[in-house]
C-alpha cells in the first residue's frame, strides 16, 4: 500500500521537457490572471457578515461536523475532477501531452497559495455573504486532493491490462460500461489509497482555510479552524485543549469509519489474482458486511446508483461502437487543431505573465523572494535529514517485526492525518516562555505533520523485505553498519524516497503557516518564503502573493525534477526488490 510517485508516461530522462515549460507558463499565467482579476474585486469586501463564534466546548460538535462537511464536499469535487480530467488525459494522448505536465505543476503549487490567489474571486461570487468563503474553503480542500487523485487515476487508466480491455470490447461493452465496469474498478485500490492519503493531508488545510484574513477583512467560518484561531487570539489555553481533543476524536472516527473500511473494501478490486497478501482489516467494514440492516441499506444505495445510471446506459446503442483507426488525414487535422489550441494557451500564459511583470516588476523584490526561498529550502532539507535520522531506523526496526508494525503503522497514518497546526500554539507558548530563537525553533513545526510519511513508508518497505534475504544476511553474519549499509538501507530506499518526497512537499506547504505564528498579540516570525507569502496575504498585496507563490512553486518543481526524481529513478532501478 504505497502512494506511488507520479512516474509519467513515457518518462524521458530529460529534466524538463518543452511540455513542462508550457505547463509552467499556463499555470502561472492562470494564477496571475486570477490575482489580477481579484484586484478589481477588492472594494465591496469590507461589509462581510460577521459570524458569531463561541469558545464554549458545547459548540465543538457542531463545528467539527461543519469542518467534516467541507472536507466531504471537497472530496466530491475532487472525484468529479478526477473522473473527467484524468480520463481525458489518459484517453487522448494529444491532450495528455499537456494535461499531465499541468497536473504536475499544479501539484507543486503551495496549496495555501491557491487560497491566497483565489479567495477574493470566490468572495466576489456571493458578495457580502459567507457563502463565498465557504466556496474558497472547499476549493482549498479540492486543491489539496484533486491533483494526487487525478494522477493515480491517470496512471491506472494507462495500465489497464490490454487483454481485459480486449475482453470488454470483444463482449461489446460500450465505452460507458467499460469505464464503470472495467476502468474505475481497476483504478479503485490506487484511487482510494490516494484519496484517503490526500484527505488525511486535507484536515490541515481545511482548518487553515476557515480563518482567513484578506486585507483588513477577517473571515471566520464556523468550524474547528476558526475555533482555534479565536482561541489563539484570546489566548485561551483550555479552549485549545478542547479543540485538540475534539480533533483527535474526529480523526479517530474518520480513520475508523472511512479510511480503513474504504481501503479494506477497495482490496477486492486488487488486480493481481494471487491470494496471499492479507488485505487490511477493518472492524467497521466487517460490521457493515455482516449487519443485515446496513447491508440492505448498501444494496439500496447501489440499486439507486444503477437506477440513476440506467437512463444513460439505456440511451446508448446496443451495438458496440465500430472500431476505427483514424486516417492520416484525420490525424493531421487533429494535430493542427491541438497545436493551435496549445499555441493559444501558451500565448495566454505568456501574455498574463508579461502583463503581471510589467506592472511594477521589481528585480529587487524577485531577488528577495529567491533569497527567502533558499532559506526555506535549507530548513526543509535540514528537517527532512533530521526526521530521516530518527524515523528510518525506527521504521526498519518496526517493519521487520510484524506485530509491532501492526500497531505502529495505523498510529503513524493517524498522526499524518492529525492537523499539526492545532499543536502550533503549544510550541509558540514554549518558544515565548523560554525565549528561544524563532528562526530555528519555528522550523520543526513545518515537519510536525508530514514526518509521519517517512515513518510509515519505511515501515511498509521494511515489511516487504523478503524473509529469505533477511536469513541470507544473517547467515552471512552481517551485523552493525555493514547490515545497515549493504542490506537494510538499500532495501528500503525506494520506499524512503517516496516518503521523504511527500514529507518535503508537505513541509513547503506548511511553511506558509509555520514561519509566522501568533499567540494573542505576540507574533513570532522566521525569515522565509512562507512568511513572505503569509505577510502578502494578510496585506492583500496580490502582486507579492503571486510572486511568492510562483517562486515557491519554482523551487518545488526544480527540487522535484533535479533532486527527488533522479534519486527515485536510481533507487527504483538499483534497489527495487522484485
Amino acid at each position: 500500500m504505497l502512494r506511488t510517485l507520479p512516474a509519467r508516461a513515457g518518462d524521458s530522462r530529460r529534466l524538463l521537457t518543452q511540455w513542462d515549460l508550457l505547463a509552467i507558463l499556463v499555470v502561472l499565467g492562470a494564477l496571475a490572471f486570477l490575482g489580477e482579476a481579484s484586484r478589481g474585486l477588492m472594494a465591496p469586501l469590507a461589509k462581510i457578515e460577521a459570524t458569531e463564534l463561541s469558545l464554549s466546548p458545547a459548540f465543538l460538535p457542531e463545528y467539527a461536523a461543519r469542518t467534516t462537511l467541507r472536507m466531504l464536499a471537497g472530496l466530491a469535487l475532487s472525484l468529479l475532477f478526477t473522473f473527467t480530467y484524468a480520463t481525458w488525459a489518459a484517453k487522448s494522448p494529444r491532450a495528455g501531452r499537456l494535461l499531465v505536465p499541468i497536473l504536475d505543476i499544479l501539484q507543486s503549487v503551495p496549496i495555501l497559495g491557491f487560497l491566497s490567489a483565489t479567495i477574493v474571486f470566490f468572495l466576489s461570487l456571493a458578495p457580502g455573504k459567507v457563502l463565498g468563503a465557504e466556496f474558497a474553503a472547499v476549493f482549498v480542500i479540492f486543491t489539496s486532493q484533486a491533483w494526487n487523485m487525478a494522477f493515480s487515476f491517470y496512471q491506472s487508466l494507462r495500465t489497464v491490462p490490454a487483454e481485459l480491455t480486449e475482453a470488454a470490447r470483444s463482449f461489446r461493452l460500450s465505452a460507458w460500461s467499460r469505464f464503470w465496469r472495467l476502468e474505475v474498478p481497476f483504478a479503485m485500490p490506487g484511487l482510494v489509497w490516494n484519496m484517503m492519503m490526500s484527505m488525511s493531508g486535507g484536515w490541515f488545510f481545511v482548518t487553515l482555510s476557515e480563518a482567513i484574513s484578506v486585507g483588513h477583512t477577517k473571515i471566520m467560518l464556523p468550524g474547528m479552524g476558526a475555533y482555534i484561531a479565536l482561541a489563539i487570539d484570546q489566548k485561551n489555553l483550555p479552549a485549545i485543549g478542547y479543540a485538540i481533543l475534539t480533533m483527535f476524536i474526529v480523526i479517530m472516527i474518520y480513520d475508523q469509519l472511512l479510511f480503513r473500511p474504504l481501503v479494506s473494501w477497495s482490496d477486492r478490486f486488487r488486480f493481481d489474482l494471487e491470494p496471499g497478501v492479507r488485505p487490511p482489516t477493518s472492524w467497521a467494514l466487517t460490521m457493515m458486511r455482516r449487519s443485515t440492516l446496513l447491508r440492505s441499506t448498501g444494496r439500496f444505495i447501489s440499486r439507486s446508483w444503477r437506477a440513476l445510471l440506467r437512463p444513460v446506459t439505456a440511451a446508448l446503442p446496443v451495438r458496440a461502437p465500430v472500431y476505427r483507426e483514424a486516417t492520416p488525414e484525420q490525424e493531421r487535422r487533429a494535430d493542427i487543431v491541438s497545436y493551435v489550441l496549445i499555441v493559444l494557451l501558451g500565448v495566454f500564459g505568456a501574455y498574463e505573465a508579461v502583463r503581471f511583470m510589467s506592472q511594477g516588476f521589481d528585480v529587487k523584490e524577485l531577488l528577495i523572494t529567491l533569497k527567502l526561498g533558499v532559506l526555506t529550502m535549507l530548513r526543509v532539507f535540514i528537517l527532512i535529514a533530521l526526521a530521516s535520522l530518527v524515523w528510518v531506523p525506527v521504521g526498519v526496526w518496526v517493519g521487520l517485526r510484524p506485530r509491532a508494525a501492526a500497531i505502529v503503522q495505523p498510529v503513524a497514518q493517524f498522526l499524518a492525518a492529525f492537523p499539526a497546526n492545532l499543536l502550533f500554539p503549544i510550541a509558540v507558548i514554549a518558544i515565548v516562555r523560554f525565549n528561544l530563537n524563532p528562526n530555528i525553533w519555528l522550523s520543526p513545526l513545518m515537519i510536525l505533520g508530514t514526518q509521519w510519511y517517512i515513518l510509515f513508508n519505511v515501515i511498509a518497505g521494511a515489511s516487504t523485505m523478503p524473509a529469505e534475504l533477511r536469513y541470507a544476511a544473517r547467515n552471512l553474519g552481517l551485523t552493525g553498519w555493514l547490515w545497515w549499509s549493504r542490506f537494510a538501507l538499500p532495501a528500503v530506499l525506494p520506499f524512503y524516497v517516496t516518503g521523504a518526497l511527500t514529507a518535503s512537499g508537505g513541509a513547503w506547504n506548511a511553511a506558509i503557516v509555520a514561519e509566522i505564528a501568533n499567540w494573542g498579540t505576540t507574533e513570532l516570525r522566521a525569515e522565509g518564503l512562507g512568511a513572505y507569502i503569509a505577510d502578502a496575504s494578510t496585506a492583500g498585496d496580490f502582486h507579492r502573493i503571486v510572486l511568492g507563490i510562483a517562486v515557491m512553486s519554482l523551487f518545488v518543481v526544480v527540487i522535484n525534477h533535479v533532486f527527488w526524481r533522479p534519486i527515485y529513478r536510481y533507487a527504483e532501478r538499483k534497489y527495487r526488490l522484485s
Binding site: 491490462p161 481485459l164 470483444s170 463482449f171 489474482l273 439505456a314 476505427r324
Partner: protein
Amino acid sequence: MNAVTPLLEVRDVVKAFPKGDGASLLVLDKVNLTVREGEIVGLLGRSGSGKSSLLRLIAGLSRPTSGEVSYLGQPVEGPAAGVAMVFQSFALFPWLTVFENVALGLEAQKLPAEEIRRRSLAAIDLIGLDGFESAYPRELSGGMRQRVGFARALVVHPNILLMDEAFSALDVLTAETLRTDFLDLWGAGQMPIKGVILVTHNIEEAVQMCDRILVFSTNPGRVVTEIPVTIPQPRDRLDAAFRELVEKIYVEMTSKRVQTASELAARGQVEKPAVANLDVILSNHVSTNLISGLLEAVAAAPYGGRADMPVIANDLMMEIDELFPVVEALQLLRFAELEGGDLTLTADGMTFANAEVDERKRIFAKHLMSYVPLAAHVRRVLDERASHVAPRSRFLDELEDHMTHEAAEQTLRTIVSWGRYGEVFAYDDQHMSFSLENPT
C-alpha cells in the same frame, strides 16, 4: 444461413504498425484464411509470427492496414456479435464473481435479467463450474479460471470461438484435461459454436485439436503452408500417424528457419552493414546458460551430437517457442546445423560441449567475433576510441534505425550478456556504457 457463405473469410490481409521514425513494421503480409462450418482451424507459429494480431483482426479489435475480413459475408468493422474470444491470461474481471463474469457479455446486450440468469447458469453448468458461481477468480485454480473464460465466451452463443493460446498458461495436466473436455463437448455438438480458430505455438496441441493447421512464418507473418489433419477424433498422441504429422510440421517449421539462418549467416560475412541482419535471432534473448545447456544435451548420450527436434523438445520439455530461439542461436554461432528436423553439432560445438570453463569462453569469444557482426562492431568501436568507452545509446540509436525500441533493447541485452560471457567487452549498467575494462 447460406451454405455457400463461409463462416469467416480473410482476404489478402496486411497489418503494419507505425514505428517511431515514420516507417512501419510489417506484422502480417497478405494472409488468406477461410473457416467453414464445423471446422477447428489452427494458426501455428512462433511469437512474432503475427498470429495473435490476425486473431485480433478477426475479433474486430483492430483493423487491417489493407485487405478484408468478413464474417458471414459482412465486413468486420468492430467486435461482431457472433464472435467470442478466450484469452491466454484468462482476462477475467477479478472484482466480479464467476457468475457475474459470465453474465457480463449478456448484460452488454441488455437482455432481460431472467434470460441472463438462465443462460449464464446453463453455460456455467455446461463447462463444469457448478458450485463455483459465487467464487471470485482469485479463489480459483488456473484451470478453473480458464473454464470461466470458456463459459463467458460460450454464453453469448457465438458462431465462432477464438482461442488465443488458451491453454498455454496452464500446467501440462490441466491443459490436457481442458482440451479433451472441450473436444468432447465439441464432438457431441453440445456447444452453440459453429467454428473454432485456435492460435497456438504448441505443435502437438494443434495436431490434437485441429482439422486444418496453418503454419506461420516469422517477421513478417505469412502462411507458409496449410496442413489438413485427417486422423479421427479422439486422437492418440502415441499413435504413429500422430507422431509422423508432428515430425512433419517440425521439419516444415525448421526448414524455413534454416533458410533464414543461412541467409543471415551469408549476410553476416559481409563487412559493411554491421547491425542490421540479426534482428530476429538476437531480439529473442537467449542466455549463454541455455546455449551451453542445449549443446551439452545434444552432445551427450543418447544423441551423441545429433538430435531429432521433436524428440529433444519432448526430452527437455521445451515448447517450440523456447527451443527454437536457442537452436537459432546455435546456428548463428555455428555451433550446430539444422536439416530435415535434425540438429547436428559442428566440430566446435562438440569441443565447446566437452570443454572446461576457460576453453568454452575462448571458443565462444572467437565465434561471437566471427559470426555476430554486431558484437564485432561494438568491439571495433571500443578499440577505435582512445578512451575505449562507448555509451549504450550510441548502439541503441543505430539499432533503432532498423527495429522497434523494444527489439533494440532486447538485442543489446543479448549482446551485453554474450559479450560479458566471452569477455569480449565489459558493460556498466549504472553508467550505461560499454568499455574494454573488466572490473577487478
